[in-house]
Amino acid sequence: MAIADLANPTRFLKFADRTIPWLGGLTVIVFAYGIDQAMLAPDDYQQGATVKIMFLHVPSAWLGMLGWGVMSVAALGTLVWRHPLADVAAKAAAPIGAAFTLLCLVTGSLWGRPEWGTYWVWDARLTSELVLLLLYLGVIALWRTVEDPSRAARAAAILTLVGAIDLPIIKFSVDWWNTLHQGASVFRIGGSTINSSILIPLFIMAAAFTLLFFTLHLAAMRNEILRRRVRTLRLMQASAVS
């Protein structure tokens, strides 16, 4: 099946029905391996056992940003290419991205208390991450406020593209401002500062979280297509009665 064929919702549903069980199974396997490796990883020489929180916190942060990235590409698909599944993809990604951003903030807070002595501080990285969560909630509210999905899609697409400004702010906040949050330590010029005994489990966990994200996203897209079918049928039914 060509990728262009997936623009047809019926073909997409068949593709989703076939793919979700395999993707879900693969997610479980990679998670099992990732958690095993994370638990076997040595403690950090400075942070001790609390480094185990990193295996949840960092992938959650990446996926919070990936979710908004997916929504931004989908927003272009809605506004520029008018792809039939673009707004479905954007709407389906929002709650999942919001959940991972929330998890990032919660685990970051729980990691911050033993390391910094506080659950929260209004520094640039934490604040920009909180702004991302508020942006997610704003987009979700917008989708729920506007009845007509195509009108809601255009409004949400504009908000999404404006909100995308927050992504580089999150990434570079630790470089641009003096923050309590540590600087970039995984993807940086000169290579990672993390030892491979911790870095490899981190990448496995990131792969597991990414697989989970795409499994849930595919399933949520399928639900959204079905929801729109229900809406169309109800409108047909109402117009037949009147």
Partner: protein
């Protein structure tokens, strides 16, 4: 750094992850069932898409059971 002192934070983090992922999985699963049930109900009442093939009563019952 004493691991035992901070075990509560580690456990709370993993519990939060399980809760968030669990809520997402339950939400997606229940939403799928709800939409399938609504579609099956509409089709049973004879409301179908113009492009959809006509479905027999047993097929509709099967769809409801699957949902």
């Amino acid at each position: 750094m004493n691991a035992v002192n901070h075990m509560g934070f580690i456990i709370a983090s993993y519990a939060a992850a399980v809760a968030v992922v669990g809520v997402l999985i339950v939400w997606v699963t229940l939403d799928y069932r709800a939409q399938r049930l609504r579609l099956a109900d509409l089709e049973m009442r004879g409301v179908t898409r113009r492009s959809a093939p006509a479905r027999s009563e047993p097929a509709i019952e099967q769809a409801k059971e699957k949902a």
